[in-house]
């Protein structure tokens, strides 16, 4: 149950709320994943991308905001309690576990990746990356930095581990400060800084002089925005639709349980529709306008179209961000400043997302298990630190990739399907629509009622079916996994199973020890008004 001073528990301002929600969505993927998804299909990719945004992404964000605020009215800050309030079935609370498990599991590798950006910002600032002149040299340098280049039993690098510790402590510090004094303050200042830095970098890249006939900014932009009949023919293939929808899920950070927890601190009179849309559209600005204008155009100007596409195909856009861009910045005037800015931007993008990832777990401990906040923060810090060690030390055995597939990809899609079905079909879209419009400042077009009722859940369930068809069995049976990686893949799965078991026990224990809290139909708001009436009655 929520205790402590109210100012530490809720949002301090509407701008802070929107920045925190947008920051939750804006992450490393906006700058590194999105361009990589768009390049193979060119301008054609934007068609399914924006359709997915309108038909799946924005409705899903509104659904999560609605579930979260409704749960918060019953003093539930996480999805087990929220789902139980939507669907009074014994299974519903256990389905809600995904909303705590997924962000916590993603958090344990996301913070490590985020720390690379901080480490590289430091290396750019101190000139440690100077003297490397080729892409291959940068690739080897990155391997040394993360400790995978000369890894034996473990992959360890004291420099990268130091930056991991700094990043980890920053995240725990922000988490411990609470919503208004921690997450909101960081988001309120970091998001505008991130956007300004992104704009400066985009202008710098878009004004780079040509280095050859096909090494121009125009050729770089064409990789994402070209309009050719061949690309539009790819729209007939399901892969492009899956890629675009997946990107919308990842970029909006829906299906992870974090939006629910943030929204649970709102009251019934607080708007959901305009706030939700503003957070989504801020994320789109960062992704499409800024994210699409930095990595790929810069790579094409310096490497040419063929080589840039080859890097995207073989190593991915992550490689361009960490291997190629430092090289590029070395070769332009004041490049070190832009280099530091680039990696610090990635770090801020990561921080505004990662600080939300352990919030559901902490709130679950506080709300449902009624653990004191300080003890909860210590527990989360201890849990996260221990779970992060295999990811760091066995990174060369694909522990991170395994966690990312099950939690950050398949788990996310599965949870989206569950929550849309629970909200739209079981709870009912009529009640959901009513909930969404309480205190609304933006009237949502009626067509979204039908989109939420039919298109969003059908598409979400269809995506789960597609994932099951497209390689799930191979993933389960570890087909194509080298024998030396198998024990480590199992280790990743044990981490997931142990955490899931703890959460299942936690939900069971919470419902056993204080069942009245979960059955009570009196909401927080009506409770307040009832108490006020009681006070008025006693005075009269």
């Amino acid at each position: 149950m929520r205790r402590g001073p109210i100012k530490e528990l809720g949002w301090g301002s509407r701008f802070g709320l929107i920045m925190a929600m947008a920051g939750n969505a804006v992450g490393l993927g906006n700058f590194l994943r999105f361009p990589g998804q768009a390049v193979p299909y060119g301008g054609a990719f934007m068609v399914p991308y924006f359709l997915a945004l309108l038909l799946i992404g924005i409705p899903l964000a509104w659904i999560e905001w609605s579930i979260g605020r409704r749960g918060g009215a019953y003093k539930h800050g996480t999805t087990p309690g929220m789902f139980y309030r939507l669907w009074k079935h014994p299974i519903s609370k256990y389905l809600g576990i995904f909303g705590i498990l997924l962000p916590a599991m993603v958090g344990i590798y996301y913070i490590y990746i985020e720390s690379w950006a901080l480490g590289y910002a430091w290396q750019m600032a101190t000139g440690m990356l100077r003297g490397k002149h080729t892409y291959e040299e940068m690739k080897v340098s990155f391997g040394s930095y993360v400790g995978t280049a000369n890894a034996g039993m473990i992959s360890f690098s004291s420099v990268s581990y130091t930056f991991f510790l700094i990043t980890f402590l920053i995240n725990i510090f922000v988490l411990g400060r609470g919503i208004a004094k921690g997450i909101e303050i960081v988001a309120k200042y970091c998001m505008p800084v991130l956007i300004v830095m992104g704009m400066i970098l985009a202008v710098r890249v878009l004004t780079l002089p040509p280095r050859g006939e096909s090494q121009t900014v125009s050729h770089g932009l064409a990789q994402i925005w070209r309009l050719s009949p061949q690309d539009f023919q790819t729209l007939m293939r399901p892969h492009v639709w899956i890629a675009a929808t997946g990107q919308i899920f990842f970029t909006l950070s829906v299906g992870l349980g974090m939006v629910h927890t943030y929204a649970s601190y709102l009251k019934k009179k607080h708007d959901l529709t305009l706030n939700g849309l503003t957070a989504c559209i801020t994320n789109e600005f960062v992704e499409v306008v800024l994210g699409g204008s930095i990595v790929i155009p810069a790579a094409v100007v310096f490497f040419g179209v063929e080589r840039a596409r080859e890097i995207v195909d073989t190593d991915g856009t992550f490689a361009i961000g960490f291997y190629a861009l430092p090289l590029i910045f070395e070769q332009i005037p004041y490049g070190e400043i832009f280099g530091v800015m680039w990696f610090f931007l990635l770090f801020l993008a990561g921080l505004t997302s990662s600080m939300a990832m352990f919030t559901p777990l902490l709130v679950f401990l506080e709300d449902e298990l009624q653990i004191d906040r300080r003890v909860g923060v210590l527990f989360v810090a201890f849990f996260a630190f221990i779970m992060m060690q295999p990811v760091i030390l066995f990174n060369h055995h694909k522990v991170l990739d395994e966690l990312d597939y099950w939690m950050g990809t398949f788990g996310l899609v599965l949870f989206v399907a569950i929550e849309t079905v629970v909200f739209s079909w079981i709870f009912g879209v009529d009640k959901g629509w009513e909930e969404l419009h309480l205190g609304a400042e933006l009237k949502v077009p009626r067509i979204y009622y039908y989109i939420m009722k039919y298109i969003t859940p059908v598409f979400a369930v269809g995506l789960v079916v597609w994932f099951c068809y497209d390689g799930l069995l191979e993933k389960i049976t570890m087909k194509n996994v080298p024998m030396e990686d198998v024990p480590y893949i199992w280790l990743a799965r044990i981490i997931i199973l142990l955490t899931a078991s703890f959460l299942i026990w936690g939900v069971w224990y919470a419902w056993q020890t204080h069942p009245k809290f979960f059955e009570d139909d009196v909401t927080n708001n009506s409770q307040n008004s009832k108490e006020l009436k009681d006070i008025e009655g006693s005075i009269s």
């Binding site: 301008g43 070209r226 305009l274 849309l277 559209i281 499409v288 306008v289």
Partner: protein, 47 residues
């Protein structure tokens, strides 16, 4: 190489996104319905 209609496509998408951002933030920042804890504190004090 970007053709004129590719530029038109790109700038149209950018214009829609930036326009929506301006519209949403204008509505949010000029709204009287702000999130504040004053009402919560009043409720707390009245108990």
């Amino acid at each position: 190489m970007m053709t004129w209609y590719s530029y038109l496509y790109m700038f149209s998408v950018w214009a829609i996104i930036i326009g929506l951002n301006i519209y949403c933030f204008y509505r949010v920042l000029t709204s009287k319905n702000i999130i504040t804890h004053d009402d919560d504190e009043e409720e707390e004090n009245s108990k």
